[in-house]
Structures are given as structure tokens and as C-alpha cells.
């Protein structure tokens, strides 16, 4: 069910401000693609433009082409709600719904769209999603407890379970481990490895070791200068990016000789 994404000449704006300029690349299906780069270079903005979450911010808009499965995401008749059902997202800070139990949080995507299903079917989705997010053994005895009762790492995996419960084609992750400790981070990295069998995964991270560990391909974003829009400096296989990148700027950033 995984799909690849073709991006060409994507410019991303906040009002008049051009935040990211001229991105063109192809994200392969059933692989992990990582984006690295300094703060404020537009990695997250770029990620959010892939499932039309960018335009949720007032005044934000996009110029260019994002094509998934032969369909243009920013075409005139495309419903952003449908796009988001196909392309799930996990955020930087764990954000389970505070009014819902663990069980209801996992089913939120289905329930909030008032999809009718039998109890057995719902139970099946919850167990499969929680197993998929590596959380089932930890919470199976307290599914009725509030989602906020879990630890930060567990909450983040709960959010991943919630995202994969609606069976999206693509899973976007915006610095999913930046608020977590190393143990929880390792759990989520293992999870990303497993999820890659079924999903196309795009991850933004500040942590270059993490990008090297989990991804198949890596893109490096950078600002041309302070106040200038961010742009994609280099996009290559992760091995090549970390062993011998084509662009000297990438090498400077990765080896810590940035600027």
C-alpha cells in the first residue's frame, strides 16, 4: 500500500515570505527518507506541505508540484481532507487527545470520521496498530486509561499507532524523537525499521546519527544566508551522504565544520 512521491519545483510560502525554494526530488516507496539541516531551514515546513498540513496555518501557501500515485496533490479538485487520510503524520511533541482513553486514541482516526464498525473489528484495529507501534505489551491491560497517563515515549508511540490505524500510504514524521530519552528513541527507531515494510516513511530529524541509522536516503536542507529561503542542498543515498557527499556544504555540516 506504499506509494512514492514526486516533488518538482516546490516553493513554500508564509504569506509573502518565501520559506523554502525550488525543491525537486523523488521519495521512494517502502523506504525511509530522512531530511536533515539546521533549525529554521524549512525541513518541517517542507514535510508539512507533503500532506497539505502547511495550509492549516493562516496565510500559508505552496507553488509547485507534488505528485503521489499519479495524482497532483495541489490540483484544483483535490480535497485536503482526503489527502491527509492517505498521508499520515506524527508530530514533534506527542499529542494524544486528552479526553480519550488509550483505546479511543488509537481509533480516533476512524471514530472521528464516524466510520461504523463492529466491536471485534475495532478491537482488531487497536491491537494491530498498537502491536505495529510496539506498544501493545505495555498497555494491553489498561486500554481504558487516559492517553495522557502514559510516559512521553509511550505517548509518542501511541500517536504513531493512531497514525497507522487509518492505514495511510505514507507516514510523515516531524522530529518524532526530539522530546524523548535515548531508550524511547531506540524503540521508535526500531519501529521505523519495521514500519518500512509497509509504509513509505519520511522523517525530519536534527540528529544526524539518527538519520544515518534509520534512513535509506537523506536530503540536506540549508539556508543560502540568514533571511534567505531554505533550499535542498543535496539528496542522495544515506551511505553516500555520510561517506562522501557530492556537495562540500553537506560534508561541512555532517562532519561538524558547519559555517
Amino acid at each position: 500500500m506504499a506509494k512514492s512521491i514526486d516533488i518538482s519545483d516546490l516553493d513554500i510560502y508564509y504569506g509573502d515570505f518565501l520559506a523554502v525554494e525550488g525543491v525537486s526530488l523523488t521519495i521512494r516507496a517502502r523506504s525511509v527518507t530522512a531530511f536533515i539541516g539546521p533549525s529554521g531551514c524549512g525541513k518541517s515546513t517542507f514535510l508539512r506541505s507533503l500532506n497539505r498540513m502547511h495550509e492549516v496555518i493562516p496565510g500559508a501557501w505552496v507553488d509547485g508540484k507534488v505528485v503521489i500515485d499519479g495524482q497532483e496533490l495541489y490540483g484544483p479538485n483535490v480535497d485536503p481532507v482526503e489527502v491527509r487520510r492517505q498521508i499520515g503524520m506524527v508530530f514533534q511533541r506527542p499529542n494524544p487527545f486528552p479526553t480519550m482513553s488509550i483505546y479511543d486514541n488509537v481509533l480516533a482516526g476512524n471514530r472521528l470520521n464516524s466510520k461504523r464498525m463492529k466491536k471485534a473489528e475495532a478491537d482488531g484495529i487497536v491491537e494491530r496498530s498498537l502491536r505495529g507501534a510496539n506498544l501493545w505489551t505495555e498497555v494491553k491491560d489498561r486500554l481504558t486509561k487516559p492517553g495522557a497517563s502514559l510516559s512521553g515515549g509511550q505517548q509518542q508511540r501511541l500517536c504513531i499507532a493512531r497514525a497507522i490505524a487509518v492505514e495511510p500510504q505514507v507516514l510523515l514524521m516531524d522530529e518524532p524523537c526530539s522530546a524523548l530519552d535515548p531508550i524511547s528513541t531506540a524503540a521508535i527507531e526500531d519501529l521505523i525499521h519495521d514500519l518500512k515494510q509497509d509504509y513509505t516513511i519520511v522523517i525530519v530529524t536534527h540528529n544526524m546519527q539518527q538519520a544515518a541509522r534509520v534512513s535509506d536516503e537523506t536530503g540536506f536542507f540549508n539556508l543560502k544566508a540568514a533571511g534567505q529561503p531554505g533550499h535542498l542542498v543535496e539528496f542522495n543515498s544515506t551511505e553516500k551522504m555520510f561517506a562522501g557527499p557530492d556537495n562540500p556544504a553537506t560534508e561541512d555540516y555532517i562532519s561538524g565544520r558547519f559555517g
Binding site: 492549516v56 487520510r85 472521528l112 470520521n113 464516524s114
Partner: protein
């Protein structure tokens, strides 16, 4: 104080860091308060001062004596702290005085009147002793209920529009401005507005409970809008984004994620708004009028309410006046009790609906 006085704090010759300072004993504030009270009572006895003068003297003596003692022993910073703390307590006492005397007054005057008969009888054909406020209690409940039924949908929906859909649009800014203006409407004007409105449909001299509800809802809507707006703004944007990212349309996000998360606060706001308008007198005086009989139909005839009942019982108590005035105090006690119960319910409800962390 930049220079530290000779004392244990300065004895750092052997190289220890000066962290120890002499301190007043823990009972020092109580002791000084006792002295201050004693001085003030002496003044009252010998100079014949009244209660107000005595209280003010006691407060002043305390505010001077304790900081002086403290600065002699503990140094300037502590003395300032003692002074500020004393000032806060004094302000607290001053603020509590009207509340306590009001409650005391109403309780002592109202309690003797309360009885089974007082709560279950109306005032039909009552001259002098006896009678009750059943008709006024029911009138207040019915009129406030209708007012709530009008204001809550309008107010909550307006707040949802402002927070979730407004986005600095011209209409949203206009609505915010109008709500601000509405907050400042005097209650008598709301009553006149309701009267003028109902005269258009029912002719001059119209009186009905529902008119009172309309007047009260004019006062209530801005409170509900404001309270709901604040609560909706408190819902973290991350929850909305999480919902959007699951492919949930905006209206479902609002109804199923945002509203439940803010529900506790919204209900509290509504309850407080109800408590606020339940005691309104002026608009009901104009449009709902007063009567001695039961009238449970909000859409016809005059309807008695507790505030209006209190007003008439006290200003036109009849002959002899004692019984009418006693009934006014009893009704006041009942009204305060109803408002307090509403506030307590609001607290209980908000606790019940609040998102649970479950740690």
C-alpha cells in the same frame, strides 16, 4: 541594606560562607498582632473610639511595629517582606469585611423566616403574616432557564465562530467589538429593549416571563461568548493539527476534539453567567412585572421573580411593615443560596468533565 550589621552573619572569619542570619521566632507575627489589638482596645476604652477606628489603629500599629522589630533583628529585606505580607493580610481582611457582614446580615434576618410554608406558599390573598415565595422561586427558575436556553447556543456558537473560523476576518472583528459593547449594556437598558421588542408584537403594557428571559439573555450572551472564547483558545493547536493529520474534517475536529477538551471550562462559564443574571432586578421589573399568584407559563401574564419580589416586599411592605420586610430577607437568603448552589455545581461539573491525566 548594603552594609551588613555586626552579627552571626558577619562571623565568617574562619572562612564559612555567611548564610546564617538571626530570625524572629515563628510566633512573632501573632505576638505583634496581639499587642496591636491590645493597644487599640486600650484606646477604645480610654478614648471611646468606635470599632472602625480601633480596627484601623490595630492594623497600623501592626504594620509599624513588626517591620521595625524585624529590621532590628533580621535586616532590611526581611523587614520589607514582613511589611508587604502584613499589608496583604490587611487588604484581605478589608476585602472580607463586606462579604462577611453581608452574609451575616442576610442569615440573621432571613433564617427565622424560612419554613416549609415560606418555601411552598405563594402570596395570594396574604395580608400581614404568612404567605411564601414559591411563585417567585419558580418564576426565577423558569425565566433563568429560558434565558439560558437562548444564550448558550448563541453564545457558544458565536465563540466557536470567533476562535475556529474568524481568522481576523472583518465579520469576526465586528462581532468581537459588538460583544465588547454588549458587556457594557446597563441591565435596565436590556429590560427596556426587551419591552420595546415585545410591544411591537403584543401591544403596549405587555408583561410576560419570556420577555424577562430575552432581557436576561442580552446580558448573558456576552458573558457566555467571552468565557467560551477563552476556553477554546486554551485548547492546544497541536490537538487540532493531530486531528487534521488523521484526515478529520474541520467541523468534526471542532465538535469531537476541541469542544470536548474545552467542555469543563465552557460549562463553568455558563453556570457563572447564569448565577450572574439570576439576581438581576431592573429588566424583570419592566417586562416580567410582579404578581402574588403562581404563574408557570412564561408566555403569558406577569411572573414574579425573587429579585423583584425582594424589591417590592421591602419598598411596599404593607401595614404593618415587619412581615413584608421579613419576607424580603427570607427571599434574599433563598436567592443567595440558589446562586451559591449554581457556583458549587459549576465547580463539581468542571471537575467531572476536565480532561484526566490519570497519573
Amino acid at each position: 541594606m548594603t552594609t551588613v550589621k555586626e552579627g552571626p552573619a558577619r562571623q565568617s572569619g574562619n572562612g564559612t560562607i555567611p548564610v546564617v542570619r538571626p530570625q524572629l521566632p515563628r510566633w512573632a507575627p501573632l505576638l505583634v498582632a496581639g499587642w496591636a489589638l491590645a493597644v487599640a482596645v486600650l484606646l477604645m476604652i480610654f478614648l471611646g473610639w468606635g470599632l472602625v477606628g480601633t480596627g484601623a489603629t490595630a492594623g497600623l500599629v501592626y504594620l509599624v511595629a513588626l517591620p521595625l522589630w524585624s529590621s532590628a533583628v533580621e535586616g532590611g529585606r526581611k523587614a520589607k517582606d514582613r511589611f508587604a505580607t502584613g499589608l496583604m493580610w490587611l487588604a484581605f481582611v478589608v476585602a472580607m469585611l463586606p462579604l462577611v457582614t453581608l452574609v451575616w446580615q442576610v442569615l440573621s434576618n432571613g433564617l427565622p423566616v424560612i419554613s416549609g410554608q415560606f418555601l411552598t406558599y405563594n402570596m395570594r390573598n396574604v395580608v400581614g403574616e404568612g404567605g411564601g415565595i414559591y411563585h417567585a422561586i419558580m418564576g426565577t427558575v423558569i425565566i433563568t432557564l429560558w434565558a439560558t436556553l437562548i444564550s448558550v447556543p448563541v453564545g457558544v456558537l458565536a465563540a466557536i465562530y470567533l476562535v475556529e473560523y474568524g481568522e481576523e476576518k472583518k465579520l469576526a472583528r465586528a462581532v468581537t467589538f459588538l460583544v465588547d459593547v454588549m458587556t457594557g449594556i446597563p441591565s435596565i437598558v436590556a429590560g427596556l429593549f426587551a419591552y420595546a421588542l415585545f410591544v411591537i408584537f403584543f401591544g403596549p403594557g405587555v408583561r410576560m416571563g419570556f420577555g424577562g428571559s430575552v432581557a436576561l439573555s442580552v446580558l448573558m450572551i456576552p458573558i457566555v461568548v467571552r468565557a467560551t472564547e477563552e476556553m477554546l483558545k486554551l485548547v492546544p493547536n497541536e490537538l487540532r493539527e493531530a486531528s487534521y493529520a488523521l484526515g478529520v474534517p474541520k467541523w468534526r475536529t471542532v465538535t469531537k476534539v476541541v469542544l470536548p477538551t474545552a467542555m469543563a471550562g465552557i460549562i463553568t462559564g455558563v453556570m457563572l453567567a447564569v448565577a450572574r443574571v439570576a439576581g438581576e432586578t431592573a429588566p424583570l421589573l419592566i417586562i416580567a412585572g410582579d404578581t402574588d399568584s403562581d404563574n408557570f407559563n412564561a408566555f403569558a401574564e406577569r411572573m414574579a421573580t425573587l429579585p423583584v419580589f425582594i424589591y417590592y416586599s421591602y419598598t411596599q411592605p404593607g401595614v404593618p411593615p415587619e412581615f413584608g420586610q421579613a419576607r424580603a430577607w427570607g427571599a434574599a437568603l433563598v436567592l443567595i443560596t440558589i446562586v451559591m448552589l449554581l457556583n458549587l455545581t459549576a465547580r463539581a461539573v468542571s471537575k467531572y468533565f476536565a480532561p484526566k491525566t490519570g497519573r
